[in-house]
Symmetry: C2
Subunit: 224 residues, 2 copies
Amino acid sequence: MDSDGAQTTIGFVGGTGPLGRGLAVRLARAGHRVLLGSRDEGKAAAAVEKLGERAAGTDLVGVTNERACADADVAFVTIPYTGQRQALPALAGPLGGKVVVCCVNAIEVDDRGPKVVRVPAGSAAEECQDLLARSRVAAAFHTVPARLLLDVGNQADCDTFVFADDEPARKAAFELATDIPGMRAIDAGPLRLSVGAEAATAVLLAVNLRYGTRAHLRVEDLER
Amino acid sequence: MDSDGAQTTIGFVGGTGPLGRGLAVRLARAGHRVLLGSRDEGKAAAAVEKLGERAAGTDLVGVTNERACADADVAFVTIPYTGQRQALPALAGPLGGKVVVCCVNAIEVDDRGPKVVRVPAGSAAEECQDLLARSRVAAAFHTVPARLLLDVGNQADCDTFVFADDEPARKAAFELATDIPGMRAIDAGPLRLSVGAEAATAVLLAVNLRYGTRAHLRVEDLER
């Protein structure tokens, strides 16, 4: 439900990874209709299956990416960065005019560990907006730990920055984040700053590999 | 004092801003000899003067950048990013072979607020290493709030990521961070990841401007 209690249909592009599944199950449990998409419908169904009891009683189904985009009111992009340029152009039609929440981090891992990928557009989120020129793109959920989302017996106590140039997109991403119990959304300004959250995720990954932990970022001393 | 209780002479390049003054006074209070440098020696003296009672009983003096580098065991670079390419080449000689802790964020502010500057070398820290090819560069203290450092009556309860390719540089930056009461240093891997902390600082700045706060980043659920 959004802040008005209305149900939103949320489509996930590439929702089979931990972050996609985690956000999908939390938003389904919040009362939304969720279409978890994959290039391969069987893989999408398996990802939903894997959620098991956590998705009980929710309206969460595995579909193709195309179907997820066609039926969605709002779409989430949760594919690895390396897949974005290939996956999105074909979905630009069904996503036209819709809010798209880009959760993609422009990072990759090489033999020295995680690294930040230099994106010509500036950030994965700006590239997403370029590829989906007729959509309203926000960026969020970069540093959110999937394990907190998937642990549905507990609150997902964490922060997410929300970036957008488009106000309806910012509002939609902010409200959906707030639908997840424990999560705090922080309005962090224009889409171009998404690079900060994306690059910080590479740092977090490196820290977690070094320390053998699953730490995450919090913003301290924030009061409105 | 470092972990062995030894006094280090720390020179600040461009130490007159809030972060430079904050780190300088905290490290001086930890027992180190601190040379707070500026292009203009009078400006350096005024910055020390401004610290007033907070620097009482410490060995903290205002000097030129050249003098700060020549006499330092370890140097801190705390200039705005826009000044780095101009300031550092002339200091490469006196800084040769020494540990240099780069605290520079590759960010700037335009009419839309803070933004991340794309650095050809990858990050301000990597550019610093390129400009000071014979020095051992670490990067740290990017997201540390100057106000916590300058409030010497209280602990500076905050986290800093430490990045380095050079092990002695990493160790020196880590230990100096730990000399500041309340500060936690986090080993975050190679210098190339400094871009993550630098870019995250632009996000924090934007959040603080929007919310009228002075929030900072903490790493949660980190245990060795």
